[in-house]
Structure formats: structure tokens, C-alpha cells
């Protein structure tokens, strides 16, 4: 059995680079899987030979290596996962090096909930509201995960909740919330405040 040289995934990846690397890693892995299947052996030690089960499941692997299972139907909410499923790259665990286990678990929970049938709009809205009723840092992590996995409903929900949360804040509070450094000189700050004075009244 050939061993793949896994590329070193650095901490400071941008979303698109991480996605591209993951996809390319994926394609290589799936090629190995289809080659091995012909020899009737599999790459991954954790899964057994593929059974013919009715519910297809996708396995996701967090940045710390923890695995989470998600039904294919729920995974389709993520355009990224949908593309992988379409290209038959989703038969082995999909590594998501940018997403921590704690966050990935919740994202899976979100997708499962939104794939459920027979939930009325009102209770789904209430569930969504509870979902984002968490610390800011967690909501920010949800946003990054939803952006990476391309889950439009989760991205809309989380962006709106951040917008609602910051609506009435002062610039100083915004700097604190997003850990931003002002970088204005005192004169520049004075000028921009003057130009927008009416917004502070």
C-alpha cells in the first residue's frame, strides 16, 4: 500500500487555500481508495469494508482529529460537502483543519436540525435564536465555519445575529468586541468624528 505524503497544513491558512488543499487531498485519497478497493482493501483503519446501508453517512474530522458523523442528507446543506459528495470524495473522513471539534459538533447539530422534516417555521426560528444565543467568540467561529463549508442559511443567521448585537455600539465598544486597533492618528480621528458627528447624537 502506498503512503501519501501529507502536505503540512499551517495554522495561518486562508479559507480558499485551506479549501483547495483539502479538496486536493481529498481527490488524492479517493483515488487511493478506488485503487485499493480493486484490491479489496481499504486505506482507513477506522472504517470497515463499505456495507450497503440505506443511510449514507459522511465523516468529518476536526482540527484536533476528532471525528463526527453527519447524514448525507444533512451534509447537503453545505455546498462544499455537497460538491465532495457529488464527486465521490466523501467516502472517507473529510479533514477540516480550520474547524475545532467544539464548533464542528454544533455545525453538525445545525445541519441535522435543518434537514429534519415536519418542523414548523416558528419553532425552527426559536431553535435558531437559541443556537446563536452564545458568546460572541463562538458566533464568530460559527461564521468562519459556515463560510468555509458554504452553508448559506447558517451564514445568514450568524451574520444577522452579529449585526443585531453591534447595532447600537460605540466605536470603542466595536474595537473591543472585534479586537481591532484603531490606527487613526489623533487628527484623523478628530476629522472622521466631525464628518459623522450627527451619528453620535
Amino acid at each position: 500500500m502506498r503512503y501519501l505524503a501529507l502536505p503540512l497544513l499551517s495554522q495561518n491558512l486562508t479559507e480558499s487555500t485551506a479549501r483547495a488543499q483539502t479538496l486536493s487531498l481529498y481527490l488524492q485519497l479517493s483515488l487511493q481508495v478506488s485503487l485499493s478497493q480493486r484490491n479489496e482493501s481499504t486505506m482507513s483503519s477506522s472504517s470497515s469494508s463499505l456495507p450497503s446501508c440505506p443511510k449514507k453517512v459522511v465523516t468529518l474530522k476536526s482540527s484536533e482529529g476528532e471525528t463526527f458523523e453527519i447524514e448525507e442528507i444533512a451534509a447537503l446543506q453545505s455546498k462544499t460537502l455537497e460538491n465532495m459528495i457529488d464527486e465521490n470524495c466523501a467516502d472517507t473522513p473529510i479533514p477540516l483543519p480550520n474547524i475545532k471539534g467544539k464548533i464542528l459538533a454544533k455545525v453538525v447539530e445545525y445541519c441535522n436540525k435543518h434537514a429534519e422534516v415536519g418542523v414548523d417555521a416558528e419553532s425552527l426560528r426559536a431553535w435558531d435564536a437559541e443556537f446563536v444565543n452564545v458568546e460572541n467568540t463562538t458566533v464568530f467561529d460559527y461564521i468562519l465555519a459556515a463560510n468555509f463549508l458554504e452553508i448559506p442559511t447558517l451564514l445568514d443567521l450568524t451574520c444577522q445575529s452579529v449585526a443585531d448585537m453591534i447595532k447600537g455600539k460605540t466605536p470603542a465598544e466595536i474595537e473591543k468586541t472585534f479586537n481591532i486597533k484603531s490606527a487613526f492618528t489623533p487628527e484623523e480621528e478628530e476629522q472622521v468624528r466631525r464628518e459623522n458627528q450627527w451619528a453620535f447624537e
Partner: protein, 367 residues
Amino acid sequence: MASFPNDITTDILSQLPVKSVARFRCVCKSWKSLLTGACFINAHFDRSSKYRTVSLLKYDDNNSSRIGVYRPHHRELSHLNPSSGHPSRYNVVDSCNGILCLSVYYKDKPGLPDIFLWNPSIHECMVVPQHHCRVSGLIAFGFNPLSGHLDDFKVVNINFNFGARTDCHSSRAQIYSLRSNSWKKIGNVFSSWLGRNLGHQVIFQNFICWGTHARVNGQIVASLVSFDMVEEVFREMALPDSMPSEEKFITLFEGCLSLIVQNPSSQCYEVWTMKEFGVTESWAKLYTTTVLMDGFLQCWPLGAASSGEVLFVKSFYCELRLSLTSYVVSYDTRRREFEEFKVGVEAYCSSRLVNYTESLVSVVTRD
């Protein structure tokens, strides 16, 4: 800490009201740059038009003009504050992309009004430079949606010369562009007998539209006049024979070009809508109201609010005070009854209803 890509930051911040956005320009240099850029202003306006469109009611009271936000099921208006450099008494030509076009006529300078472009959301007001021709009262306002710039505003001025004989009518139009800050002539217009009764304008897609009628040889002839902001030409559109030929008031009803029409036989107003723009046969009567045109209470339509109610000005002559008292009232076309809303105004002719969407579009800073 989370550092979002720009498109996510734009996604979040474009949901905020204008006041918050202006405040957040003071957060840091990169936010200032993002929040003053044309790309963000467009994204923000897109969202604004979906969720934050209201109706503004302009009226005169005690010799000064006021503008209030009309909200359905509310008894009163919440008023807009004037900005500095803002005239105290004016007419509202129309509203477009968050900008209101105002005209002010002065007794000592007849025929030379001041024209203002005002963004009440960001408190910016500018005066359109004077042009040398006399104005006979028609100023039109719109923007070119195909140029890709939200601030590609145009002000059209039409001069009519009414000769003594009917064949001496002529007209000339000139157009001002904010982006080039200059006027230019656009030549002859249309049979100017139509110009006598153009009334208020409405902006629909890339057209400025007016409903008009005139008595020609004892017959009432009515049509729709439009000015194409892209091709800068005027066109006339016939109205269907099935529509009563009395006076018509143009408005936008549920996003479609509509006319509030007087039906002489029932003495009530009707709401007609053109389902397909430019197609005369697509005019259809949507509602018959129970609002009487005449009688003890004079009743004139201002137009439809963005929430669907039709606003009217009801006037009655008060014998005690020997004066005409007027109120703006709101009529629900589905429930066929008046709402509790009532605002005292000076007169019908100085009242105006326009749809408004708040925006960050600047008329002052040019890039």
C-alpha cells in the same frame, strides 16, 4: 480573534441602519475605507431597499414644510429633522436612492427656483447650480440605473411656451447631471399641451412618469407621459378606453405603476395598475374604493404608501373660520375603510407622498 474576510464584514455591516454605519467609520482606518467605498454603499442600499423602505409625507404647516415618516396602523408621523443648509419651505419633486429633490420658489425671483438634493439619512444637502433659462414650473428628478453608479442623478427642467393659438406651443428641456455637475440641452419634447397638467411624477425603473389629461376640442384626452433616463427622451403612452377619462393621479401601488382614477358615474375613486409596463392592454382595475370625490368633503389622492394604504387629503370649508381645513387620511383598500390616521395640513397642493429608502449615497463628496 476572528478576522473576517471583507465580504463577510460587508455582509454584516450592510445590515445596519445608516446611523450605525456612519458611527463605525470611526472604528479604524480599514473600516473607514470599507464603509465609504462605492461597493459597500451599493450592497447596503440593496439591503435597505428590501427591508427599510418607508413612505414620507411632506406637508406645510404654519408656513414651513415638514416631512414625516408614515407607518401603517400608526396614528401619527415621526418627523425627520432638517439638515443644515436646508430650506424652510419647499416642494418635494421626488425621492430616489435615498436622496430627496426639493424645489423652492421665491416671490422675488419668479421662474428661478432653487433646486436642492438632500440625503436626510446622512444629513447632506447640496444646491444644484443655477441654469440661465426660466422655468415654468416643471422640474423632474431621477437617476440612470444603467450607469452602475447609485449617484448618477439627473434633474430635468422643461420650459413650456404657451402661445395664444394652439399651434404655437413649443417646449424645451434641459438636463442636469450630478456626476458631471453641469446642464445640457436635450431639445424638443412632446406636444406641450400635455405639459399643462402633468402634476406629480413617479419614478419607475429607468422612467420618470406622469399621468396627464387635457381638454382638447371639448374632449378629455388622457395619457401617460414618460421620460427615459437612459435614452433621455420623452414618450407618450395611451391609456385604455375602459379607464374612466376623468382626472388621474399617478402613484406606485405594490411596486407597479398605477393610477388613482375618478369614476364619474360612481363618484368614487378607483385604483388601476399597469401590470406590464408599456402595454396599454395590461391596465387593470385593482380596487374600487368607497372614497367619494366630491360633496361636502373634497377628497384628493396623494398616492399609495409603500405598505399599500392610499393616502388622501380631505378638505372642508369651515364657515366659522372662513377657511379651508385639510387633513391627510389613510384608506385601506382591502378592508375598504379609513384608518385612524389623521394629520392636519395646509393644503392639498403643498402635500406630497413619496417612497423612501435610507442610503449612504453622498451628493456632496465626489470621487
